[in-house]
């Protein structure tokens, strides 16, 4: 015990510093010094750019840091700027920071240094600054040539009203330099021995070619041009109109010219379609109306220059913005004295018009008359263009079901009101088979079930005058090649750019098909027709939303108008972090592990391409992370371990190396390029005891087995009793027999009962008052007084006694053992030769067996079996239970021992107890020493 106590104390002492070290690592991180600080200068923007890294081997996750940056000018001690830059830092991340100098960077040497401090709430105070990094020098003067005079900044862009500083560097200290701004002498301040600076506040615009500043000494004058820009104004009077319903013209007043050489850009963006165009003019922009019957337009005009961005929006209905072109072919007809008929023609963009007429005297024009107006409607004409048709083919029981879609014709091409669409289905394998469907407008789709033949379907739009040209699609009776590998792509602000490789040289065009809202069923099928020369396009739609997976199918159209699938592409306009976590099923919980599975999680319908999964594991003890896990901090500042599964198809994970009887919390969250799912659904699990499985797997079956055995024993008790402890034991099943066999004495056998044929049964009734003599008992003889045991003595049937001879007595010694334990026995066979009867060794079974063995060896060797006389003792010798017909006269008398004794051939000498004076033969029918029992 003492040794154990010493070992335990030593172990705990060894653990204590380790634990202290761990807590120190977590609670008080060492300050991190920035590394690889690099300084560069952008002369155009007059910016100093810093780049550095922070190497932190202890943290694997993002954490907040503060970087204190010092900038000095001319010499390190002359600090001119101090700034704290806070950001979130990842491990080994390259950090950037820029500083715009008011003084041109070429005019002074700058020095930069920084220090860091971890500023994360998860890291407890105190927070310490690291050591300063060494000073890094930024010297732009190194790149200067050997000119005597330099003026900076070059070609500086400034906005009117802002401040700007100009400086010069004179390489000749003796030179007398004078500087001029637009021919006005300017006085500056000396910054260094050869550097002078000139600060201009609230600069104004002078001319488009810039404001000139120059300095002159003895040599060639040098100068700079400040490119001053007027403030960009918001566009005014933004409006759109159309003359032909094909092109929208948007105009605006851009305001004052900024005066810069670089003109501001004007971009027109339409939110419903998601399209945009860069305007070629600063006050006008043309927008091509598409064929998809879009009537409402939400335009945003964005004006942008180097300094500012201005925007203005309008919601515009195409029909409400029609500015008709001027009528033409105006002719007077049938001019009479009072009437004049005038005819003219109009450009047809609709059917309803309003004509207003006013008159003026032509010879000497003075004023127009009042207007009179009249509405009229032009006659319709047949639609001028075929509808844009596409199809969706599904195979049901091998039969193609075709859903035809078409886009409504624009007003320009409809030339009236479309009444219905005709769909003509022609079986190419059976030319005589023709099926015509008439679909009333404004329906834009119909479904046709076909056979396994090739079909050609023609769709025409009809108004009251006639049909439009036909649009044709061909359908094959068999599914095409759908086993095209799906590619991935990324969306941009403009939509989904995609390109493809043509399969056939004779393609007549390409069709890109997609669903606008794939998350909502049924799919709103969209398509875009492209010419045969196109192998790339950009699919844009106002319905595209971030975080939605869009699937595109690119078809090649053959000369027979058959569509063959070329490529499949899937992409997100913008990937988002997963919005929910998979439902995780936990199984195989043991004391050291459990299995997580989320096989039902659909990776295809998430808010981004699932790149893998994070398995978070929290333990109450906050123990060290297991192999493969990395320590991380959660938003609630708790520490947990994270395992990264970088295979999105792996949807099971076994958490190993757990502690028995420990509580854990786990979470499985997927991650995309935009981030991971929510971390607010941790599930708890407690590992069981290490031996609980033993209880389950071993003890319970054992209990069950014992229970079954007990039931069997109960049901078979009688049989069991007969087999195991019968009332009359079978000597052949005695354990002594095995002992005898062990000695391999073939001469020792158990006598068969049949060998001793009883010929008479004598019932001996001991007279009252007969005394029993118990060897070794402390009871007085009077205590046994009154007992009347009855014995059945099996005696020879005819002859009482055949003569003297050796006598062998059989006893069941199992009963003797009990008797010896009790210290007394009811009866013993008595032989005439007292010296041969020794009771002592028989009081214990071992002694008895030994004695038996020895005695048997001796006696049996001398006595032939056939000549032996037997003194047969009843096996029902118990005075209490054996003789039931003779109830005990003295019931309180102790039961003594059972009188059932193992039947065994015992030499008479051994079987005879030591005779004493008080011995009694009342319980046994004793034979005369000279008598022989048979």
């Amino acid at each position: 015990m003492a040794l154990f106590a010493v070992l335990q104390t030593t172990f705990l002492l060894a653990l204590l510093p380790l634990r202290t070290y761990q807590s120190e690592v977590l609670s008080e991180p060492l300050p991190l010094t920035p590394e690889s600080l690099n300084v560069s200068i952008n002369s155009t923007k007059q910016c100093m750019h810093l780049q550095w890294t922070v190497h932190n081997p202890d943290y694997h996750q993002e954490f907040k840091m503060v970087f204190q940056i010092q900038i000095s000018r001319f010499k390190a001690s002359n600090v001119i700027w101090l700034e704290n830059y806070s950001t979130t830092v990842k491990r080994n991340q390259v950090l950037h920071w820029s500083w715009e100098s008011e003084l041109p960077l070429e005019c002074a040497i700058h020095f930069v240094r920084m220090r860091t401090m971890v500023d994360d709430a998860r890291i407890p105070a105190p927070r310490l600054w690291s050591n300063w990094s060494s000073w890094e020098k930024a010297d732009a003067q190194n790149s200067l040539g050997d000119h005597p005079l330099y003026v900076f900044p070059k070609d500086k862009l400034v906005e009117e009203g802002s401040n700007v500083t100009v400086c010069y560097i004179s390489m000749n200290h003796q030179d007398n330099i004078s500087c001029y701004l637009e021919d006005v002498l300017i006085y500056g301040r000396q910054l260094d021995q050869n550097v002078w600076a000139f600060e201009f506040k609230n600069v104004s615009f002078i001319r488009k070619t810039g404001t000139n500043f120059y300095c002159k000494g003895q040599g060639d004058p040098e100068g700079v041009v400040l490119l001053v820009s007027k403030v960009l104004e918001e566009p005014k009077n933004f409006s759109c109109e159309t003359q032909d319903l094909k092109t929208l013209t948007c105009t605006w007043d851009p305001g004052n010219d900024t005066g810069l050489i670089q003109l501001p850009s004007y971009t027109l963006f339409e939110s419903f379609s998601g399209k945009k165009t860069l305007c070629k003019h600063r006050n006008r922009c043309d927008w091509q109306v598409t064929q998809d019957s879009q009537e409402m337009y939400n335009f945003t005009l964005v004006a942008e220059n180097y300094f500012r961005k201005r925007s203005v929006s309008i919601l515009f209905n195409l029909i409400h913005g029609v500015h008709p072109m001027a009528p033409y072919s105006l002719f007077p007809k049938s001019v009479s004295a009072t009437n004049a008929t005038v005819t003219w023609k109009v450009y047809s963009i609709g059917s309803k018009y309003m004509a207003r007429v006013r008159c003026a005297y032509a010879d000497h024009f003075w004023k127009w008359s009042e207007l009179i107006s009249q509405n009229f409607t032009t006659a319709e004409a047949a639609p001028s263009e075929a509808p844009d048709v596409w199809r969706d083919v599904t195979f049901v029981s091998g039969h193609p079901t075709v859903t035809l879609f078409w886009k409504p014709l624009s007003k320009v091409h409809a030339n009236g009101k479309i009444l219905f669409y005709n769909v003509v289905v022609e079986n190419l394998d059976e030319p005589s088979s023709l099926k015509v469907l008439s679909v009333p407008a404004p329906a834009n789709s119909t479904k046709v079930t076909l056979n396994q033949s090739s079909y050609q379907i023609c769709v025409t739009a009809h108004n009251s005058v006639g049909p439009s040209p036909a649009s044709t699609v061909a359908i094959s009776g068999h599914p095409g090649n759908e086993n095209v590998e799906e590619g991935r792509m990324n969306g941009t602000e403009d939509g989904f750019p995609m390109s493809w490789k043509p399969q056939s040289r004779n393609a007549t065009g390409y069709v890109v098909e997609w669903c606008d809202s794939p998350q909502h069923l049924p799919c709103v099928l969209r398509w875009k027709n492209l010419g045969p020369t196109n192998t790339d396009t950009v699919i844009s739609s106002g319905a595209f939303r971030p975080g939605v997976r869009y699937n595109f199918r690119i078809y090649e159209i053959s000369t027979k108008r058959m569509a063959h699938l070329l490529e499949k592409k899937a992409g997100y306009l913008k990937e988002l972090a997963p919005s929910y976590n998979p439902k995780v099923n936990m199984s195989n919980l043991t004391s050291h592990s459990f299995t997580l599975s989320w096989k039902d999680y659909p990776t295809e319908s998430q808010t981004g391409f699932i790149q893998g999964y994070y398995v978070y594991l929290k333990s109450k003890t906050g123990e060290k992370c297991h192999r493969g896990f990395e320590k991380t901090f959660l938003t609630d500042n708790s520490v947990c371990c994270k395992y990264t599964i970088d295979n999105p198809d792996q949807k099971t994970f076994v958490v190993k190396d757990l502690q028995p009887e420990s509580a854990y919390e786990f979470l499985v969250t997927p991650y995309t390029s935009a981030g991971e799912g929510p971390l607010d659904d941790f599930r708890k699990v407690t590992t069981p005891d290490e031996y609980s499985h033993i209880l389950i797997h071993i003890i319970l079956p054992m209990v069950f087995f014992v229970f079954v055995i007990m039931i069997i024993c109960y049901l078979k008790s009688q049989w069991l009793k007969d087999k195991c402890y019968p009332d009359i034991p079978d000597p052949y099943k005695s354990s002594v027999l095995s002992l005898i066999k062990f000695k391999e004495n073939p001469h020792i056998t158990i006598m068969n009962v049949n060998d001793c044929v009883p010929d008479a049964i004598e019932v001996v009734n001991k007279p009252e008052g007969s005394k029993m003599q118990f060897v070794g008992t402390r009871k007085s003889p009077t205590e046994t007084k009154g007992t009347k045991p009855a014995y059945l003595d099996l005696l020879p049937t005819e002859k009482n006694y055949s003569g003297p001879g050796p006598c062998i007595c059989f006893e069941n010694f199992t009963y003797n053992q009990a008797a010896s334990d009790l210290g007394y026995c009811g009866h013993f066979p008595v032989t005439p030769q007292a010296p041969h009867c020794q009771l002592g060794p028989l009081t214990s079974p071992e002694n008895l067996l030994k004695t038996l063995e020895q005695s048997y060896m001796n006696s049996l060797g001398e006595i032939p079996a056939g000549e032996a006389n037997l003194n047969y003792v009843s096996q029902l010798a118990s005075p209490m239970s054996g003789d039931r017909e003779s109830p005990p006269t003295n019931p309180p008398e102790p039961a003594l021992c059972s009188e059932y004794k193992m039947q065994m051939a015992i030499p008479l000498g051994l079987a005879s107890p030591a005779r004493s004076e008080n011995s009694s033969l009342s319980s046994t029918a004793l034979l005369d020493p000279r008598e022989h029992c048979h």
């Binding site: 003026v151 070059k154 070609d155 488009k208 070619t209 000139n212 041009v225």
Partner: protein, 202 residues
């Protein structure tokens, strides 16, 4: 057979490759007899004199138009900002032979033509709305090209000079705006000065 074609043909090509095998042949060999594409006009020298006179008459207005468009302080500091101290400007010796004077004239016109091209390019960026200046610069450049052609024709036809080494001024494309303005002004000041001498010399 394919193996033979794939292995042997490239080997033969490599073995028979010589330096310049793929480069274009010079149109006019150095030692070849001078030949002009079109016959030179008979009054070639008069043409040259007239062109020089035309350039001389417009040089000052071009100069004024230029420095005015650059804004102050250029108009008031011509001596400092537009002084005609142009480095590497080809020399001209008025007392030389006609052939020598024509060769030197050729070099000067070539130099001026290239420099005027740079100025025109720069001013179209710096002064996108100075259409008068652009037009004047373009006209002057056109006349310079005609003059260069005539001088070459004269040299070729009379003196059988087919090749003249020329030099060009500095490229201003990488310089800042002030340098472009200043170099342009200096060049046009030099041009005004030189063209007067040339007009006088022929």
């Amino acid at each position: 057979m394919k193996v033979l074609a794939a292995g042997v043909v490239p080997l033969l090509l490599v073995l028979h490759w010589k330096h310049g095998a793929g480069s274009p042949l010079p149109i006019t060999p150095v030692n070849a007899t001078c030949a002009t594409r079109h016959p030179c006009p008979s009054n070639l020298m008069n043409q040259i004199r007239n062109q020089l006179g035309q350039l001389n008459s417009s040089a000052n207005s071009l100069f004024i138009l230029y420095y005015t468009a650059q804004g102050e302080p250029f108009p008031n500091n011509l001596d400092k900002l537009c002084s005609p101290n142009v480095t590497d400007f080809p020399p001209f010796h008025a007392n030389g032979t006609e052939k020598a004077r024509l060769v030197e004239l050729y070099r000067i016109i070539a130099y001026l033509g290239a420099s005027l091209g740079n100025i025109t390019r720069d001013q179209k960026v710096l002064n996108p709305y100075a259409h008068g200046l652009h037009s004047k610069l373009s006209t002057t450049a056109d006349v310079l090209r005609g003059l260069l052609s005539n001088v070459l024709c004269r040299l070729c036809s009379k003196y059988h000079v087919s090749h003249v080494d020329v030099t060009y001024g500095p490229d201003t494309s990488g310089k800042d705006v002030f340098q472009k303005k200043k170099l342009g002004c200096q060049l046009l000041g030099k041009y005004k000065q030189v063209i007067a001498v040339l007009a006088q010399a022929f």
